[in-house]
Symmetry: D2
Subunit: 151 residues, 4 copies
């Protein structure tokens, strides 16, 4: 069974977060083969693009039924039609989750991680008791690698 990292974050993002997501994705691909995300635009698209540039395989778990909603860097598209209930699937697939800046949707996913006991690394995202706060991509990747070895 392959190890999986999920990256969560907003459906829209500014240039700075876009670069953060892309570079995170690219470096994560050096430590894990499979990236799961919500499969849409913004942060999700940037991290998928980076992860593929790094040589990884990307899975997008969509809220709707239309595969065309996936960003173009998603290799495997799962159109759930579950709406926001798909947030559970995005995090439960993962051995480790990395949270990037995002709003309430990202918060619901962090909350699910805490409830499931899935380790969640917060890189400039919500600061909720229980998350593993890091300040740089390098720290996020290093921490992901350590946690995957234990998973």
């Amino acid at each position: 069974m392959k190890k999986i990292v999920s990256v969560i974050g907003g459906r829209t993002c500014n240039k700075e977060v876009e670069k953060l997501a892309h570079d995170l994705g690219k470096k994560l691909a050096k430590v894990v083969d499979i990236l799961v995300s919500g499969g849409l635009g913004g942060t999700m698209e940037a991290v998928c693009k980076g992860f593929k540039a790094g040589g990884g395989l990307t899975i997008g778990i969509l809220p709707g039924y239309d595969k065309k909603d996936a960003n173009k860097h998603v290799d495997i598209t799962l159109p759930t039609g579950l709406g926001l209930a798909r947030n559970v699937l995005v995090v439960k697939s993962a051995d480790v989750v990395v949270a990037l800046p995002g709003e309430a949707g990202t918060l619901s996913e962090i909350a699910y991680c805490l409830q499931f006991g899935i380790p969640v690394i917060s890189l400039k995202s919500w600061d909720i008791p229980g998350v593993i706060k890091v300040n740089t991509i390098e720290e996020a990747v290093k921490k992901t690698k350590q946690l995957l070895q234990k998973a």
Copy 2:
């Protein structure tokens, strides 16, 4: 179509929160006919008990498939088998949500309220930007009543 309030909170609770939930339930029954909750024990059970004592009808939206998991104050049991994805249903059913003390599960439900734009009143619960903080049952009930009139 009937107006609905959902009350969210922990699956276990101390005596103080149990009383808070019960008394909240009882008073909410004066301003709204239907209570939705997650249907299990702890805060959910206390609020259902109070709401029925106040003359209301209670709906429990369970994570599992067994109707017997519902607390005994649930009138209408919906066993979803959806696990934690049922959290979406608990809040989306509501015109107004009241959050009582709880942990990550409650946080995921508050986050969903914020994402859906459902007004969420926090009574000694999580303090997240966007929630309506109140300090007493009376304030919670008054605010619920106001919000239901707009819904």
Copy 3:
């Protein structure tokens, strides 16, 4: 805990099936207090209308997020946003299910009944091994009553 009947059937229907659904609903209300349905139009609307005319309480479990999608005879609207996955909830809520004419959606619901072991009465609907075939409304209501007593 209240007993529940679910009635399943097509989203559109001809006049004959509309009358069948309406009359079934009206008579079911004499033997059970709560009707669950998918909450939309066609057969679902007709059965809700009849059930309310008979004095019962109707619950609509919607595939989408918009309460306005419910037909006007739904008292309690649960907008799941789960798409067709909500079919599971429609049948799992019930102690007994009655199937009216419908297409693939109705078939998926019958299949779920069989998988869960929920008794499913087929009134001019799919004839799948395991369903309880009846030919008239009276038989359907009588059989529902019997099965509810055992539930």
Copy 4:
């Protein structure tokens, strides 16, 4: 975006169906890269084993939350915790579905295919109006290949 075939069928199966599933999986891997299944035992395990033997990548969409429930030939495990509602995801992921012998669960999945308009090939499985009946593995694989080219 990669093309996907889903194979559905019973959680338990006799030796004959096990061989059928295995050989189907092995041959399907020559015409498509990704296999989705429900990830459990019986038919699902046999088809995953065959598909991997043929060089493909297997995804298991589980009803529960425990990745250990997946059979050992699943590469990518998605533990949904959605119970039987996960059936929607198994078929909606696919460009083409192949149904093997199974009971009510398989029937619910065939019904969803018909409702979504996903082509579903029945190889010794349910004979419902709308399915594409075939009698041999070779026909199933040939038909899958044709349908994938159109998808």
